[in-house]
């Protein structure tokens, strides 16, 4: 029996232990039911608008545009969402779905802590129990978010296995799910993992490009020439791309974390340095050695510090529809500072990777061109780490 469901070209699939198969089948059935249910969608829309502060603004960054001297730059302000990042879009959708399925407990992995905070938030709102797995290394890098999750009533479990970062948090959350399925939904934070997660998460994040399209048509009367976002697993990027995939005039640009450079081992740029593999439930591109051992990746950004990329991105890369570029720590930190100074907007260090690439390409584009950059999250959480990167010894 072959199951073509959940494939994006050769990518995707359901490479998970038998113990979890019925859980993902049940999830798929529930999702297929509720995604077309007017009541579910109305409830989610209300949560988006009233609770998460949607629609998020599409802001014309006039000073940034003038400073770079090229294409007109708009910022999609996902940083202004409740909890400070795009992660809340997916979490509200999944938490509502889990609740409809009769689940009472949410588990999640988190890298930078934004998805963990969003999950803890939704759990608090909906009266659900919440456990978040976070690499021990990341609990140190993002101590403030650990506190936020605890404040929201979640239990945060530091993961010490492997590299003690995002990939290990995913592994540990998967292990936890195999041991407790009945009452527990694994609220996966990105467009990755086994089918149906890449599709579910994409659909909930697609609100980003749906809004961008409406907003840019209102403001400019035409589609943008490029939309850009940072890519770890790729949820804000797929959300930014989705409603533009059919519009071939719109360039889709994903910005990966090159860490200290794609010619070093300290990188997390999956499309630029990885190869086809099978891990965390999916076939996609992964940073790995010649024997398929997953590489210990690195990026200054805890949210992009992941050795794989969602299967739909791998497919968009294969067919040449989207471009994936690598941005180093240094470039991202420069962009973090630059956007703060020019626009008074402190982006998440993850989002700063997209800003950094825009700083490279906008000046080469004509003034009649339009770029949209998704600012996936706010940068407050990163201030202490960036200060340390610059040699200022501040701790939260």
């Amino acid at each position: 029996m072959t199951n073509p469901a959940g494939r994006f070209g050769v990518h995707g699939g359901q490479y998970i232990p038998e113990t979890l198969m019925n859980a993902v089948i049940e999830l798929e059935a529930a999702y297929n039911h509720y995604k077309n249910d007017p009541e579910f969608n109305a409830e989610l829309q209300t949560l988006f608008n009233e609770y998460a502060n949607r629609p998020s603004r599409l802001y014309f960054a006039q000073k940034l545009t003038e400073a770079l001297g090229g294409a007109k730059i708009y910022l999609k302000r996902e940083d202004l969402n409740h909890t400070g990042a795009h992660k809340i879009n997916n979490v509200l959708g999944q938490a509502l779905l889990a609740k409809k399925m009769g689940k009472t407990r949410l588990i999640a992995e988190t890298g930078a802590g934004q998805h963990g905070v969003a999950t803890a938030t939704a759990a608090a709102l909906m009266g659900m129990e919440c456990v978040v797995f976070m690499g021990e290394e990341d609990t140190k890098r993002q101590a403030l978010n650990v506190y936020r999750m605890r404040l929201l009533g979640a239990e945060v479990i530091p993961v010490t296995s492997g590299t003690a970062t995002l990939k290990d948090a995913v592994s540990e959350a998967m292990r936890e799910w195999t041991s407790r399925i009945d009452d527990t939904h694994y609220c996966l934070g990105s467009v990755m993992g086994p089918h149906p997660f890449p599709t579910i998460v994409r659909d909930f994040q697609a609100v980003i490009s749906k809004e961008i399209k409406q907003q840019i048509l209102e403001k400019e009367g035409r589609l943008p020439d490029a939309v850009m976002a940072c890519v770890g697993g790729g949820s804000n990027a797929i959300g930014t791309f989705y409603h533009f995939i059919e519009d071939s005039s719109v360039r889709l640009i994903g910005c990966e974390a090159a860490g200290r450079g794609i010619d070093t081992f300290e990188t997390a740029a999956t499309i630029n340095t990885g190869k086809l593999g099978i891990f965390h439930g999916m076939k996609s591109y992964f940073c790995q050695d010649e024997y398929g051992q997953i590489a210990p990746v690195y990026s200054i950004s805890a949210g992009l510090d992941y050795p794989g990329i969602g299967p739909e991105h791998a497919y968009l890369h294969d067919i040449g529809r989207a471009e994936y570029v690598a941005v180093t720590d240094e470039e991202a930190v420069n962009a973090f500072e630059y956007l703060s100074r020019t626009e008074g907007i402190i982006p998440a260090i993850e989002s700063a990777h997209a800003v950094a690439h825009a700083m490279k390409i906008a000046p080469q584009m004509g003034k009649d061109k339009i770029i949209v950059i998704t600012v996936s999250g706010r940068g407050d959480k990163d201030c202490a780490a960036i200060a340390r990167y610059r040699g200022e010894n501040i701790y939260e």
């Binding site: 199951n3 359901q14 490479y15 038998e18 113990t19 198969m21 296995s161 099978i278 051992q293 997953i294």
Partner: protein, 255 residues
């Protein structure tokens, strides 16, 4: 009759698991011979993976030790070549990416050439097995299916297609010693029996002779990993003897 099913003819089968290269391949070789001598009916050899998502802390530790010792898939095939005189069937247990990155066909050919009888990939469920199983079947290697306490209505289709033996996962969660197994394994086995007569072995959480005896009443064999890996972690290069004694006690308890 195939080599794996043949191994279930000698009373209830005891199937120990060890990770290749934990702590080194020389010790793995000693362990294989000692366990075969002590009555193991099939031996499961783990090829270490950096991120073994189906394993608890004990076997995660074995994977880590083996990889830090520099073991690779090629070194493991070279090592298995030195075990040609071992008559007990050897079965590989590893993760999809280890096989995929090596090349599925190339991996199957190397298994056939080195005399590996079967393959277990815990992250390849029924839905994804077509990518792997036919390639191994063509080389006479069994692609072993797992059935979990949550499999329910999936049991029929998995069992109908099963090769070698069926690996019944005793309980929810990852590998590791458990003091108590609550799943109604007799019901699961009975369900499987409706669709196939190939042998069934129960694994996950079994460590004591009492548990093994209990499992032997329900199924055709039992699989023990973490309890053995713990001993290897403790006795390191001197683990062949204590592990052999353990295998003897488990095999005896099951008869």
């Amino acid at each position: 009759m195939n080599k794996i099913q043949d191994a279930f003819r000698n009373g209830k089968a005891f199937i120990p698991f060890i990770t290749c290269g934990d702590p080194d391949l020389e010790t793995t070789g000693k362990l294989v011979r000692a366990m075969a001598e002590a009555g193991a009916d099939i031996i499961e050899l783990g090829i270490p993976f950096s991120d073994p998502t189906a394993e608890g802390p004990t076997i995660q530790g074995a994977n880590l030790r083996a990889l830090s010792g520099g073991v690779t898939t090629d070194k493991i095939f070279d090592f298995v070549r030195t075990l040609k005189d071992v008559t007990v069937p050897l079965v590989f247990m590893t993760y999809a990416n280890v096989v995929f990155s090596y090349g599925i066909k190339r991996f199957a050919a190397a298994c056939a050439e080195t005399g590996i009888a079967g393959l277990i990939l815990p992250d390849v469920p029924h839905e994804e097995k077509e990518e792997f199983a036919p390639v191994f079947r063509a080389k006479g290697i069994d692609f072993i299916s797992l059935i979990a306490p949550t499999s329910d209505q999936r049991i029929a289709e998995i069992a109908k297609d099963a090769e070698g033996f069926i690996y019944i996962v005793s309980s929810l969660g990852v590998t590791g010693v458990r003091s108590e197994i609550r799943t109604d394994l007799a019901a699961v086995t009975e369900q499987i029996r409706k669709y196939t007569d190939i042998p069934c072995a129960i694994g996950f959480g079994i460590s004591t002779p009492e548990q093994a005896a209990k499992m032997a009443k329900i199924a055709d064999g039992c699989i023990v990993g973490s309890a053995i890996v713990k001993q290897i972690a403790e006795h390191k290069t001197d683990s062949a003897e204590p592990v052999a004694a353990y295998v003897r006690s488990m095999k005896a308890a099951m008869q």
